[in-house]
Symmetry: C2
């Protein structure tokens, strides 16, 4: 539970103001940080956001984008430290400077030199950190002119996501993207400092051109120059992490690139909600639908308690004697008491109850729970404070799940290297489906942000799980099995999903808002139009050819035409 | 020139002793670093390398690998902080502990608990940091047994590189690999701290699944699920770096993964040596071979001066009146004086002179220079102190070179985005082959460790270079050309080759010694045997099939057999 503390700290350090409003506080976190120094090769003497009354009289050179112009008298210059007001000279002798500053389109890049002067009394702008001063310009240079933009660089201007992705470099100039990516850089740096400097972790890069993982999900293939041989882009540094542990790097971390070719892979993780299993209470019930559910092999009866729910929800069961439910009369007194005890029901609580096949019952109850929370929050009950970071560890996952297409066979709930729970090892040989794993997930404000596990370090046990229980081809993993035999220490780890974590921290609706150059939903780069066609001669060295689907011959031709046009 | 200073600092912080000998000094660089703290989930109370006389009497739990055993009385336990001596109990009551510690093979992982005691007088080992103490063991547990190793984990044991790569996880336990990778992690961390914390750079990850770069060298292809469409793994974040500058991230860096499918790509960089051009001295010479050389279009006469070379080299030209050379008599007095002035020749210096086509003359003189240095060093003259870091910037590269296969056409000396030297811009339209570039290389102790350039920020100029001078298809780069039109600021950058830099810092002969899991020369992973065969059904979603070379049908079958065997 290390991360919560630094994350809270980090968050406290963040200002809710835009970057321009208080760049030192919002973008620079620790007090010993200073603004970047400039070398002799850089023209600017200061950044646009840093000038104050204390700079009055100084000669400065600033570079930036033209944010806007007012009546050819004022111009607001922007860089990513803030905004500053430039006074365009009006006298004859400065005609050339005036021409440059008045004719350059908005978002052009200019360099100006001049003196920091106080704004005339009454013209100060207290909302602007540089609002006490302005720059009396002497010289100006147009560094690069800007063509007419496809959209305005203003956060309040609505644009479609496709347009934002196509002109990503313009979208990156928005306050929102600047803040998100700068914060991401700082958070990753804090993580590194914590791991490397405080706890002696070693940052090691592992290869991304590797070999296909058996049983893994979709991995991108990379053809090699040897006929028929392919690398694959691994989904995670899974095997390398373990090999580093065996290699004696006792504290390793990496900010790793993971590749997942997600066609439409469903989320295979079983649903987990805070539920209470009340099957035993109703084992001998006379209520038909509960009886039905419990008679099936995976059948269960689950319930959640919504504290104070009676005030806002249509009441279903009440703890008072008159249980407000059509099924209440069928519940026997002893069942009722046991039920109240189990659920710790209080006055005005609402109990929601589901019965049916385990997975479906859990999933449904999870959704009901979120619905209730939404309803209660609409009525003004604060349940989920967005300013709070609520962390939760999820543990005791099953090690195996029945295969979807053949429930009599098992597959790994997470991956075949996860160690069984020490108390359940004996079940591996008798009832493997009942074995709990040493997998753990970390949940932040209801979203999974990370997961990991203690791994199997015993070669024999790993072989048994792979070959006997999962029926995998162990030859593909012979290097790992062999490595476990050469003094592998007990080990485990965790991986955090940086993209999702950053979404939660910045309050972004999509991970595309915390990634500099994201792909679209279909995996396209809308800016460069990757993936793209490749001429057949470029495929030759890799000994591959395209198998055109029969119905796409016309498309193929049109693509070729497009290439040649 | 930022890097030299921190690198010297870093190097000064390094001890030449092995990690076991002084772990705090050799592996932990800054004084405020502490040894890792341990959480309640970790069994060990201390690391093997940290125990001293000050710990006498403490109860400790240690985990580590069995390094060696002496007469079933002592056992040396190793982790990656050092070595410590364990006393195996000999009394009847501790028979089970003795059995574990005496029977576990070397390199097995054990956990021991016991008391830190002083070694008997005279048995201290001053060469070992923990040599004053030993551990009187009470309990022991075998955490994982080790099979017979393919080679001993000792640095002095010679093993082939193929064996080292096949059992990389064992090779990683060697002192050398531990030191190299831990140092690499620390150096990269120092770079990040310097860039992020001191100079406000932003760490941004850019995509590795991108679009083929026109005119770039070999890029790996990644088939997509759309028929005939491919991503490519970019050789560098080249275009993204520029797009980030345009997007307003004014100080960006990344520790980037670069992919280069190097079949046998020759080093295209022209040779650059410190030479002095003396062509003009001999413009009117009567010496036949110099005349010949200078009459050709690319002809030149170049010379280097080897200070003090006369003492060890067979003398060619001497500054004294009796120039010891068969050609000396052909050199006119005024040529001789001009030559001495240009070369700043002193008594006992040796002048080496080449004449011929520019590139060949430079290349030959460069080799002669290294040969001379080798000769002088063999005689005891210290020229290249390996403890010193000598940095050199190489500038004024040509922007274009004649194409090897068609010298009347031009290609970029580096890449088409490099800006021309400001003084040479006018030549772009008349004599582009004479334009110098704003490319710079950074050389450390004779090896190129980095390079970069100021980029073209003007869309028109970039279009002219791409379309008119290089005859590239500009449509493939339309997104970049368009981006330059929307207020691109002047910008530039540099990339360091971390692998090569680490080789120089650690004195490793191969970059494979500073990478955790390197590929072999032919691009194979000898541990997992990647790249590997992929069954045809796995190729289907990517709409590709293997084009088997006609003569490899037999190989194909044997591969398939191998897969099925």
């Amino acid at each position: 539970m290390y991360f919560p503390s630094w994350m809270r700290q980090l968050y406290r350090g963040l200002s809710a103001q835009p970057a321009w409003a208080s760049p030192r506080r919002s973008l620079v976190l620790s007090p010993h940080r200073r603004l970047p120094e400039f070398s002799s090769f850089i023209a600017r003497t200061n950044t646009c956001g840093e000038l104050r009354s204390s700079h009055l009289g100084q000669e400065v050179t600033l570079c930036g984008w033209i944010q806007y112009r007012r009546q050819n008298i004022f111009l607001v210059l922007r860089d990513f430290h803030g905004l500053v007001q430039i006074v365009i000279p009006q006298d004859e002798s400065a005609a050339s400077v005036k021409k440059i500053l008045c004719e350059a389109p908005v978002e052009s890049v200019v360099q100006v030199s001049g003196t920091v002067v106080a704004r005339p009394p009454g013209q100060e702008n207290p909302k602007m950190p540089t609002g006490e001063i302005e720059i009396k310009v002497k010289t100006a240079e147009l560094l690069n002119s800007c063509k007419k933009l496809p959209f305005e660089i203003k956060d309040f201007v609505k644009k479609t996501e496709a347009l934002r992705l196509q002109y990503r470099y313009l979208d990156l100039r928005s306050f929102q993207m600047q803040r998100n990516l700068r914060l991401r850089s700082q958070m990753v740096m804090r993580m590194r400092e914590y791991l490397c400097n405080l706890h002696g972790f070693i940052d090691i890069e592992t290869p991304t051109l590797f070999k296909k993982t058996p049983g893994g999900a979709k991995e991108f293939l990379v053809p090699s120059r040897e006929p028929g041989k392919f690398y694959s882009l691994p989904q995670s540094p899974q095997q390398f992490k373990q090999l580093l542990m065996i290699g004696g790097f006792d504290r390793y971390f990496q900010v790793a690139r993971c590749y997942r070719d997600e066609g439409s892979r469903p989320d295979r993780q079983p649903e987990f909600t805070q539920i209470i299993d009340i099957s035993n209470v109703f084992r001998n019930t006379e209520i038909g639908f509960l009886q039905d559910a419990l008679s099936k092999p995976q059948g269960t009866v689950k319930a959640i308690c919504v504290p104070g729910g009676a005030e806002v929800l249509p009441v279903f069961l009440k703890t008072s004697i008159n249980w407000n439910s059509p099924v209440a009369e069928l519940i026997m007194e002893e069942q009722r008491l046991e039920f109240i005890r189990l659920m710790q029901v209080q006055e005005d609580d609402v109990i929601l109850l589901t019965a049916g096949e385990h997975q479906k019952a859990c999933s449904l109850l999870g959704k009901l729970r979120l619905e209730c929370a939404d309803l209660l929050e609409k009525k003004g009950v604060v349940l989920r404070d967005p300013a709070l970071f609520s962390f939760l560890w999820v543990v005791d996952f099953p090690l195996f799940l029945p295969k979807e297409d053949n429930p009599r066979e098992l597959e790994s709930a997470h991956h075949p290297f996860t160690a069984p729970h020490p108390s359940d090892i004996h079940l591996l040989y008798t009832e493997p489906e009942k074995v709990r794993s040493q997998h753990y997930d970390l949940v932040l404000n209801g979203s999974e942000i990370g997961g990991g596990s203690i791994r199997i370090h015993n070669a024999e046990l790993q072989h048994y799980v792979l070959a006997t229980l999962l029926k995998e081809d162990v030859k593909l993993l012979s290097h790992l099995l062999q490595a476990l035999d050469y003094g592998a220490p007990p080990h485990g780890g965790i991986a955090l999903g940086l993209d999702r974590l950053m979404c939660l921290v910045t309050g972004s609706p999509s991970i595309r808002d915390v990634i500099a150059f994201p792909k679209s939903f279909r995996g396209h780069d809308l800016m460069s139009s990757a993936p793209d066609c490749v001429p057949p001669e470029d495929l030759k060295p890799y000994h591959i050819q395209v198998s055109w689907p029969a119905d796409s011959e016309s498309e193929k031709n049109s693509l070729n035409l497009h290439q040649e046009s």
